[in-house]
Symmetry: C2
Subunit: 350 residues, 2 copies
């Protein structure tokens, strides 16, 4: 029905015999429409196949029905080019599009540069062009205060992934500390006594929180803590390989390693192979991202799974609520998953 060239609010108004404003009120679920009139308008909309034009809506109106999700250009391109199969973007879209659709919104995904000055200019440009109702910032842009200020200055709601302040922002995160605890507890429960932690970067707040969780469990279970069992892997394959090699060659070597991201977990995997050990028999391994490669590795890895889709969905919901004038700022902590696979097993003193 109604695939005629273009049905406008005017056609519906004429069809029902009311003014355009009345149709607009029905569309926007406004008050002050007699139920009978509302019903007639709704019927006409259905029959004519009328769909509001988003561009027109946002001209005079205040809402654009657009949520803009921003990722870092460099990292995203690197991933795409490498075809590494990191599914961060997919999970963002999954969560974001699903949520937006529920509310009649559309998600637009854009990339901006890491470099602060460029990032500012590019974000400024895209919000001027698109005038989204809300913007989602992911790391590292979620850490950039200028960007957040720009958005707030233009009256655009802003969600930040991986932040936890709230205060005017829709912040979404996961409980990193609990994730660190979970990984460590799992290994302790399996009987491991010498558990090493391959950290990403001490500048990365979330890394620190996970590490806190690790330490808390070690403390709690009375397991040995050694400074050299906390390594700096710099989120890099090569650096992580070196650290892992050192650990594996040491006597009293760790029997389990927790890696702060998948890249480093793969480094451990390769290093273990190189020295002729086996996972999980000689070493248990837990990773922290659960990108697809982790499921296909040999053996498949036990991992913490970040709730990317859930975080973005929550961000969208918050942003959409905000743009209807209701305060939805705050910090939303989404539950992570822990997925046991074959890279961890009971430690057997042989």
């Amino acid at each position: 029905m109604g695939t005629k060239s273009t049905v406008t609010i005017r056609d519906v108004a004429a069809d029902v015999g009311v003014s355009r404003q009345t149709v607009s009120r029905v569309l926007n679920k406004g008050p002050n429409v007699k139920p009978a009139v509302r019903a007639k308008v709704e019927a006409s909309i259905e029959r004519l196949g009328y769909v509001p034009n988003i561009s027109a809506r946002r001209m005079r109106g205040s809402r654009s029905y657009l949520i803009l999700a921003i990722n870092d250009r460099q990292r995203t391109y690197d991933n795409w080019r490498a075809g590494r199969g990191n599914d961060w973007v997919d999970q963002m879209l999954f969560g974001g599009m699903t949520e937006c659709e529920k509310h009649g919104y559309h998600m637009v995904f854009e990339l901006i540069d890491t470099e602060p000055a460029k990032a500012h200019a590019q974000l400024s440009k895209v919000i001027s062009e698109l005038r989204p109702d809300g913007v989602i910032l992911t790391p590292p842009h979620s850490e950039n205060g200028d960007l957040a200020d720009l958005l707030k200055g233009q009256g655009i709601a802003c969600a930040r992934v991986g932040r936890r302040e709230g205060h005017g922002f829709v912040d979404v995160c996961m409980d990193e500390r609990a994730a660190g605890e979970q990984a460590t507890r799992h290994l302790a429960d399996l009987g491991h006594q010498r558990i090493a932690y391959l950290a990403g970067s001490s500048e990365y707040g979330n890394s620190l929180m996970r590490l806190d969780g690790y330490r808390a469990i070690l403390e709690n279970r009375g397991l040995e803590q050694r400074e050299e069992w906390v390594g700096e892997g710099a989120f890099s394959f090569d650096t992580a390989s070196k650290v892992a090699l050192q650990w594996l060659k040491s006597k009293d070597r760790p029997t389990a390693i927790i890696a702060d991201n998948d890249q480093m977990a793969f480094a451990v995997l390769h290093t273990v192979e190189r020295v002729g050990f086996r996972i999980p028999d000689d070493l248990a391994l837990v990773s922290f991202e659960d990108t697809p490669g982790v499921r296909l590795s040999v053996p498949p890895m036990t991992a913490i799974r970040q709730p990317t889709a859930a975080m973005i969905a929550q961000a969208c919901e918050g942003l959409i609520t905000e743009s209807s004038g209701i305060d939805a700022s705050g910090c939303y902590e989404m539950p992570f998953e822990f997925i046991e696979r074959d890279s961890t097993a009971r430690f057997s003193q042989d």
Copy 2:
């Protein structure tokens, strides 16, 4: 600069002391502006930080600067949920966003259902809302004539992935036959004489073309062709496993298998492991998609890599050209890549 609340064309006009139409002409690179005036306007735009509002542009104007890319909802959700790491969507975005950005366009990605009636209604809705200048249809929607008609009926340019007709459409594809030839030639060059082909579905045109390429090389090289060496794997892991098992258990078994997609290639990998053979020593294997998992498998697989990003970029370019009133319809065949990894090796009669 110019992060004031909102700079409009009016501000620029006032700043330079010309009319809004003149500014509009400069913006749209129209003729009939004195170079000196053009320069002054451009300088003012730069200084004021003016950025055209896309919604306003598409109201009176004919262009929306939006390209809509449509994927199948079911398949996309399945992939996302499974976290299988299929990077189709990523490659679409990679090619599409890069190209759109060059032309000042934005890409919007949307999902519609497979079921024809729903697909029609959903596409109709989203184009009414967004009024994109062009729409990219991917399989299976690219095969749906109704959808193409809907778009053309509304005067929206349409690109189709995997079609080759042209005729009013911007069709993009890869040379499937040549890909089939390439995979087969590679194996023949390595000395394989008994090469089997694990086909997807005979209803899928691209499958048939690849198969043609396979047969052509066999013919050309004088290699044995057996009917039972062309198996129907239905693009499914389980079905493909059965076919592969039968092949591997037969005497005079094939020494190489070409699989029509990665799912089936993985099935072969697992089956080989199950019967105690090794790849590439006992069997060479080539796959046809090169999703990320293929690079992480043990061993990494030799594969044809579909030019997804290039196809979508080409589709965007064609669509943008069309929307400026120039005919860009036709069939664009993009080059595929062939990536040799460790699942193929010289056949040694031992």
